[in-house]
């Protein structure tokens, strides 16, 4: 493997700043990697090599001219294809937007560019970020670099697989119910869902507006912290973005936190959590104990996961989440009506209603339609109070649980996903089972809290197991330091799938 590819974002940025490696060399190394492994992984919807090269040349010219370089100067990255970019297409992996070119660039992408990052392309996702495997992509599924017969998770499966398969040094995804952390867990990379409002959503094609948050995926915690610091901050174009200044996430990242209190939500450690995931998390807890961290028992009653005699798993949070996110998406996706842009039916239609219906019917996938219908139903008059209003109350209770828990601890620790990466087709027939991939991740989105998924080890089948750290609002710095403590103590960092060694 090209030694450039073996460098983390942080190392690569330093090497480029020092002039040891040029941005063009770095970009070429990744374009070569894409040529070699992308056919197997299918992480990208679109790569833009020429544009990437131009960006790299600009960075090199800047450095030669002695100008100050941004913190990501020359670092090749990828962005999820639901982030609007004036270059290339913005498809959301939907047939509806297959040929759509956005007229503007998302704030986060502009921030990456300002930091000097080289954007390699747009990564695959479950259509409009609805799914947990990329099998709902309107084009083709992305494969898990650890085992290409398995899913990479989703919806940011392309972004996670691209990082795991070293098809980019780092990437951006979006997380509505776990869409960054879950694929990060399944692909053995680090994924961050920042506090709601920490990162501007301007230019992120909305799925569940009150839940969506953009965050980075990277091969280690330090890179994730660096990428987060670049994209975070107030944006006057996003009314929900927070005005608080962004701290220096990298300053003490290698310094362990003295007397770190780690809460274990007892509702997440039930029979529903089984096998190797349970063991890996137990080992992680032991690792933390060895660093001197204090382990605290806490309770999140409304995030409880129940399992009945027949083995069926259920969760308040999942129910609440699917009411809120489907309600919002039914409204957010209504604009894809065939009138202003995107797919319009070629059939002859009698009236405008038929034009709307046919254009949508022909171009939106089953899962998207399912969620639009669910959301339309729950917002309908007569059902609003029973579903949407009740879900908002549950949401409040879930958030209150976290507030109470954080009186006793600094961070919470739990698995990212109940299982390791599953096989293609394994859950596609049962949407409910697919929804349960997110049981450990969705509560945070409902509460607006930050979370980070970090590789905790590998299963016997050599599949990554992710663990999740959750913190209170705007505790990103604590999460990065706590995550880095684990990396340092366990030695688990920058996991490389076998295909890279071949």
């Amino acid at each position: 493997m090209n030694p450039i590819i073996e460098k983390s974002v942080t190392e690569l940025a330093a090497a480029i700043a020092d002039g040891q490696i040029s941005a063009v060399e770095a970009t070429q190394a990744y374009l070569d990697a894409i040529e070699a492994r992308e056919p197997e992984i299918a992480a990208y919807n679109e790569t833009c090599g020429d544009l990437a090269m131009q960006q790299a040349q600009a960075v090199d010219a800047k450095r030669q001219a002695g100008q100050t370089l941004g913190p990501l100067a020359g670092v090749p990255v990828a962005v999820k294809d639901n982030l609007c970019t004036e270059f290339g297409h913005t498809t959301c992996s939907s047939a509806y937007l297959k040929n759509f070119k956005a007229p503007y660039t998302a704030t986060v992408v502009a921030k990456l560019q300002q930091a000097g990052a080289v954007i390699l392309g747009k990564t695959n996702l479950d259509e409009f970020a609805m799914g947990s495997s990329t099998e709902n992509s309107g084009f083709a599924p992305t494969k898990n670099p650890w085992d290409t017969s398995r899913v990479p998770g989703g919806s940011s499966g392309g972004s996670a697989a691209a990082v795991a398969g070293r098809l980019c040094a780092g990437s951006l995804g979006s997380d509505t119910g776990g869409s960054i952390r879950q694929p990060a867990g399944l692909c053995g990379v680090v994924g961050v869902k920042p506090t709601y409002g920490r990162v501007s959503r301007y230019g992120l094609v909305a799925f569940g507006s009150s839940l969506d948050q953009i965050g980075p995926l990277a091969t280690n915690v330090t890179d994730a912290a660096l990428l987060t610091s670049v994209i975070a901050g107030h944006d006057e174009r996003d009314s929900t973005s927070l005005p608080n200044p962004v701290g220096d996430y990298l300053a003490d990242i290698d310094t362990p936190i003295d007397g770190l209190r780690i809460g274990l939500p007892r509702e997440f450690y039930t029979e529903a959590l089984g096998g190797e995931t349970r063991e890996a998390i137990a080992a992680a807890i032991e690792t933390y104990k060895a660093t001197g961290a204090e382990i605290v028992d806490v309770s999140l009653p409304h995030s409880r996961i129940d399992i009945d005699a027949a083995g069926n798993i259920s969760s308040f949070a999942v129910a609440c989440y699917y009411i809120v996110c489907t309600a919002e998406c039914s409204s957010n996706l209504a604009r894809f009506d065939g009138v202003h842009y995107g797919h319009r039916t070629a059939e002859k239609v009698d009236d405008i209603i038929e034009l709307f219906s046919r254009s949508r019917d022909e171009s939106l996938g089953d899962e998207v339609k399912r969620r639009i219908m669910l959301g339309t139903y729950t917002l309908s008059s007569g059902y609003y109070d029973a579903y949407y209003n009740k879900a908002l109350k549950v949401r409040r209770l879930i958030a209150d649980d976290f507030t109470a828990a954080f009186e006793k601890c600094d961070v919470l620790l739990c698995p990212t996903t109940p299982t390791t990466a599953f096989k293609f087709g394994e859950k596609t027939d049962n949407p409910l089972e697919m929804y349960l991939s997110d049981i450990y991740t969705i509560s945070l989105n409902l509460a607006g809290l930050p979370g980070i998924s970090i590789p905790a080890g590998l299963s016997k089948d050599n599949l990554p197991i992710g663990m999740q750290l959750i913190g209170p609002v705007l505790s990103e710095k604590t999460l990065f330091r706590a995550g880095r403590m684990f990396e340092l103590a366990s030695g688990i960092s920058r996991l490389a799938p076998p295909m890279l060694k071949a």
Binding site: C84, T90, Y104, G203, R237, E328, S331, A334, D337
Partner: protein, 522 residues
């Protein structure tokens, strides 16, 4: 049909008993037969486009009349990923209207999405305010004939974004112009307190005056700044039993004439239909219906609903934060409102002794009334200024299709002009000329009068010279005056006229007459 119903006389049950009511714009009185007592019950939604510089949720210009889709951006185009950012000015403008309508301003309000599909609505939802309007429970007191007034209750006023416009005059297709999409729109909903056409138009005109007064809307009908949607039904008492006709909402009326025509027509139409079927044409059986208005035929017409039986699936817009109106903010906005038009009209009549017509015209908008106050402040006489404004000011305003204040007249100019006229320095004709000229040039009236020779000449020797010239040039007239008799008066006037002509209007006729009499007597 109209000719037929003209035979009817429609009676309205008022507070004091039966009285005939005008249902048409003219004095046409219609009364019912069978001694039916017919009470029209009318409520109204008024949409007012606010004149903020930019749209409500993006920075695009809020401008009418430019080429299609020239004031658009990702936000108002409803592009995926774009997000709304609230224009605080639009909220303040709405607060002003709410306060002027004696409403309670909500301490906390929010934005909701009203979901429906239509080509001119690019997001397929309109951002509006559903269950927490910015303003609620107010009233507007309107003047009625005979020095009476009536308080009409305002249920609520909420802010929302306007939709774009479908353009149908393109060959082979319908276009969508989104310049209007995102223009702030205030929807003011009345209680059904109006009982006649006069009250409906009185309410609408009073509302126009208030929003213009507050400077929050140009309220220009031709530009669609105000749209009316009256809902009308009749409560008919016959033989002690009360019948209610279906409630008809007439959509999208964009002129006072249409409003008046539609309401008058509906009253007649509903009464006629009810007479044919007193137990069938009722609210219980037929509920609420929408109708449009055909301007050419002056009739309301059946209108298929844009979308049938609507469930808008309102829910709070997660992209916008709730709006918190602190008492400080509300008080500051309230402080900017000042005197309201009806109060000012009253004051102009009592304090400045203006007639109703004068006071009414000069309180149509804020700046024109401010102008009058300023000239009085500057020491000019109110009545004189009012006369100048009512003659040349109003004429120029009509010519330019603007308010009197917008003609360009400055308070100091008007004050100086009025003082000059009152001081006998210029006559009325000169004052009119100077008025027009100073609005165009910005010069002082004294300079204009000087330059154009419009000052009244008070120099007796100069007048004497003109008189001498006139006498010398017209011996015939002088002779006729000397003879006395029939032609004396006419010849005297002729000579005065000759002198005035020589002075090019700058001599005071009284001075000329006095000196000429003396001269002829010598």
């Amino acid at each position: 049909m109209v000719a037929q119903v003209c035979n009817l006389w429609l009676l309205v049950v008022g507070g004091t008993g039966l009285q005939p009511v005008a249902v048409g714009g003219t004095n046409e009185k219609i009364m019912t037969d069978n001694n039916d007592n017919v009470l029209p019950i009318i409520g109204m939604e008024i949409h007012v486009e606010l004149a903020t510089k930019t749209k409500i949720f993006c920075r695009c210009l809020n401008r009418f009349g430019d080429p299609p889709n020239t004031h658009t951006c990702p936000v108002c185009l409803g592009m995926p990923g774009s997000l709304p950012v609230m224009n605080k000015k639009a909220v303040e403008y709405s607060m002003k209207v709410g306060l002027a309508l004696n409403c309670t301003i909500a301490g906390r309000t929010k934005w909701d999405r009203k979901n429906y599909y239509y080509p001119d609505l690019p997001k397929a939802y309109q951002i509006s305010q559903y269950d927490m309007p910015l303003a609620s429970d107010g009233y507007l007191e309107i003047p009625l004939e005979g020095d009476t007034t009536k308080k009409l209750r305002v249920l609520r006023a909420h802010l929302e974004e306007d939709a774009g416009k479908n353009v149908h005059d393109l060959p082979g297709c319908t276009g969508v112009d989104l310049n209007r999409a995102g223009v702030p729109l205030l929807e003011i909903v009345s209680q059904p307190d109006m009982n006649s056409v006069a009250e409906v138009t009185g309410y609408a005109r009073a509302m126009q005056r208030i929003v213009r007064w507050l400077g929050v809307s140009e309220a220009n009908m031709q530009m669609g700044h105000m749209r009316f949607e009256p809902n009308i039904n009749l409560h008919i008492t016959r033989d002690g039993k009360i019948y209610k006709t279906p409630i008809i909402e007439v959509k999208n009326l964009n002129s006072f004439r249409s409003l008046e025509g539609a309401v008058a027509f509906e009253i007649r139409r509903q009464y006629e239909l009810w007479q044919d079927d007193p137990d069938g044409f009722t609210l219980e059986k037929l509920g609420k219906q929408n109708r449009g208005y055909d301007v050419d035929r002056e009739q309301t017409v059946f209108q298929r609903d844009k979308e049938e039986a609507h469930d808008y699936r309102y829910f709070p817009d997660p992209d916008l934060m709730p709006v918190v109106v602190s008492s400080d903010w509300r008080d500051r906005v309230a402080g900017e409102i000042g005197e309201l038009p009806l109060a000012r009209r009253e004051r102009f009549m009592t304090e400045y002794k203006l007639t109703f017509e004068e006071a009414d015209s000069l309180t149509m908008d804020g700046p024109t009334g401010d102008l009058l106050d300023a000239v009085v402040e500057a020491g000019a006489e109110a009545k004189r200024c009012s006369k100048l404004l009512m003659s040349r000011g109003l004429a120029l305003a009509n010519e330019k299709n603007c308010t009197i204040a917008m003609t360009g007249i400055k308070a100091w100019q008007l004050a100086d002009l009025a003082k000059m006229q009152d001081g006998g320095d210029i006559n009325a004709t000169a004052a009119a000329k100077i008025f027009d000229k100073m609005t165009a040039t910005g010069d002082s009236p004294a300079d204009i009068a000087q330059a154009d020779g419009l000052l009244i000449v008070k120099d007796d020797s100069q007048i004497e010279k003109w008189i001498d010239d006139a006498i010398a040039a017209n011996p015939q007239a002088v002779a006729e005056i000397a003879q006395g008799g029939k032609k004396q008066k006419k010849s005297f006037s002729f000579l005065v006229g000759q002198v005035m002509q020589a002075s090019r209007g700058a001599a005071a006729p009284a001075d000329v007459q006095k000196q000429l009499t003396q001269k002829l007597a010598e």
